[in-house]
């Protein structure tokens, strides 16, 4: 069965994923909104930057974050100056790395949802006296609900499933940075296969359930035809 260390890792994993998902929605929503509507030449560049974690080996992202957030790095200097110390091998550092690593899984579904909604409902709202901010909350958010759900689920699940970035930036510190994927690695290294089975099986079941929900329940939602 699960050891106290396993439970600690589980708890930590869900804590990191929850906080990271909230942060990703907070920063990803305006970013996705901008990407969905801008005609700026920068759109392509920003799209590419957001999508980078999809193709980069997690170790590359982890390596650069480690350097940047280290005592000699740009981010490290700022955090030290702010009296926060340096972020690598801390819980906040793990959250920052997770946010960057999982961002495309939040931005892309949101961007797609916003693009699908298009200009028309916003124009209708404007002719009905709604300011742009008002129409974002009264029209765009409800119409993009499936997009927000998809983004949250994917962002959360992907954060739970990360390994490389965690190992590079967070390390393997119990109750601080040791998440489930790292704990499984520890079990396997120690040849504790039955413990590894419990956690690995649990993650497998979790990931499958998440994807099943995405492909069945949400598929039928009218995000593809928001306007009748």
């Amino acid at each position: 069965m699960l050891t106290p260390a396993d439970l600690g890792a589980l708890f930590l994993t869900f804590k990191v994923a929850s906080i990271a998902t909230l942060l990703m929605l907070l920063f990803g929503t305006p970013l996705a909104w901008w990407l969905a509507r801008t005609r700026s030449a920068w759109k392509g560049v920003i799209n590419a930057v957001v999508a980078l974690p999809l193709v980069l080996p997690p170790t590359v992202l982890g390596f650069y974050l480690l350097v940047l957030m280290g005592p000699a790095g740009a981010i490290g200097k700022v955090t030290t100056w702010l009296g926060l110390g340096t972020l690598p091998f801390t819980f906040p550092g793990l959250v920052v790395a997770s946010v960057l690593y999982s961002m495309p899984f939040v931005v892309q579904p949101l961007q797609a949802a916003f693009t699908t909604i298009g200009e028309q409902p916003l124009e209708a709202a404007a002719t009905l006296r709604a300011s742009p901010l008002d129409s974002f909350f009264s029209v765009v958010v409800p119409l993009a609900k499936p997009g927000f759900l998809t983004a949250s689920i994917l962002g959360f699940a992907h954060t739970v499933g990360e390994f490389g970035v965690v190992l590079m930036v967070g390390g393997n510190i119990p109750d601080k940075t040791r998440v489930v994927s790292v704990q499984i690695y520890n079990h396997v290294e120690a040849l504790e296969y039955s413990e590894a089975h419990w956690l690995a099986g649990g993650l497998l079941l979790f990931s499958f359930s998440v994807l099943l929900v995405l492909y069945t329940a949400l598929k039928t939602h009218p995000v593809a035809h928001p306007l009748k």
Binding site: P121, E123, A126, T127, L128, A130, D134, L227, K228
Partner: protein, 375 residues
């Protein structure tokens, strides 16, 4: 009387809009033109949905845009109602919530009385709890019209509200629009490419082509202008405002009065004094130099020729005006310098025009073979 002044210039490279219009503050003004003529762009500029870099727009004395002073009121601050080609209802809200969406957001809430009247006028009371996806195209468009009107706007802008509907649905909505026409006291700007809708709804007609105003003015006047391609169209027609004057029940006829005299129409089921729109196709009008001694045509009216041009396919398009005073009518075929205000178009063959020796200023008789009543 003029309460809408709109001047816009914009340049998209392959499309330029350059208009300067003064429009009446009452009735329906139809912006008519083919696709690409700029009619929808003009309407969107008036709504502020598109921003013409050069423009001045004044509605009822308040300035909505003045590019010289750098003033541009965003759409949500303009007291207008807008009906889109696709109804554009919010799919996540019921009909009731769609109707209340705008009402919740205006300061001077006109109350629900206005909304209730509008709902009744458009016959959508039974649809209030439905979601938009469960409405027919016609119902959706009626809800969209009610949603725009509920705000008690100072001007109603309609962008081809019937274009996406099939013939049957159009026939379902046109009567509502005609009723609106009689009950609304605000100006309506109505974009369409349908001559039928022009005939049925317009008081004022603006004809647009390639982003410019080809002609604008009262409907019969603008319709019968010879310098506008519309006059040569096979479906060219003139619409007269008339009122029911007398019923000749023995003959199953109704006599109506219009600015240029009176007409006999097949019996109309409407009380004396009821306003009617009577449409006369140019192909149904023929011209004679003397009162025809024996003819089955009831409507023979004295008129003055005020314009002649060659049309297509051996046709001549003749513009005449009515009425012509009795003493001048003695000299039919002669020239006279007096012409009435009510214009009418006639399509005759070029051969007939030559044989009659038609000239501008000539006194003639028009014979109207057929009429249709539009409301």
């Amino acid at each position: 009387m003029t309460t809408i002044q709109a001047r816009f210039q914009l340049d998209y490279g392959d499309f330029k809009l350059d208009v300067d219009l003064k429009l009446p503050g009452t009735g329906i003004t139809v912006l008519f033109g083919h696709s690409g003529s700029g009619k929808t762009t003009l309407l969107r500029c008036i709504a502020g949905l598109q921003h013409a870099p050069q423009g001045k727009l004044e509605i009822n004395g308040s300035i909505w845009q003045d590019s010289e002073r750098g003033l541009f009121l965003p759409t949500h601050k303009r007291p207008l109602g807008y009906v889109f080609q696709e109804a554009n209802l919010f799919p996540h809200l019921t009909v009731r919530d769609n109707l209340h969406y705008g009402l919740k957001r205006i300061k001077q809430n006109p109350g629900t009385v206005k909304l209730e009247q509008t709902v009744e006028l458009l016959g959508i009371g039974h649809l209030m709890e439905r979601m938009p996806e469960r409405l027919s195209g016609g119902e959706r468009q009626r809800v969209a019209i009610a949603r725009a009107l509920a705000l008690n706007p100072e001007v109603l802008l309609m962008d081809e509200p019937l274009a996406s509907l099939d013939f049957k649905r159009k026939q379902e909505i046109l009567p509502f629009l005609s009723r609106l026409h009689q009950q609304l006291d605000i100006p309506v700007l109505y974009v369409t490419h349908s001559q039928q809708e022009v005939a049925q709804l317009a008081d004022t007609l603006v004809i647009l082509e390639n982003g410019q105003v080809l002609a604008s003015g009262p409907l019969p006047e603008t319709q019968s202008r010879l310098d506008v391609p519309l006059a040569q169209d096979r479906e060219a027609a003139t619409v007269w405002q008339a009122t029911v004057a007398e019923h000749e029940t023995d003959y199953h006829l109704t006599r109506v009065d219009f600015a240029g005299g009176s007409l006999s129409l097949p019996a109309v089921d409407a009380g004396i004094g009821t306003p009617l729109r009577v449409q006369i196709y140019a192909r149904d009008v023929s011209i004679a130099l003397a009162v025809p001694a024996a003819t089955s045509i009831l409507n023979v009216l004295p008129a003055t020729v005020t314009g002649i041009i060659d049309g297509r396919d051996g046709q001549t398009v003749v513009q005449v005006r009515l009425p012509r005073m009795a003493e001048v009518s003695q000299s039919a075929g002669n020239l006279c310098d007096q012409a009435g205000n009510q214009a009418l178009l006639a399509h005759i063959t070029r051969k007939s025009a030559l044989m009659l020796g038609l000239q501008i200023g000539m006194a003639v008789y028009v014979q109207i073979k057929g009429t249709s009543i539009l409301n």
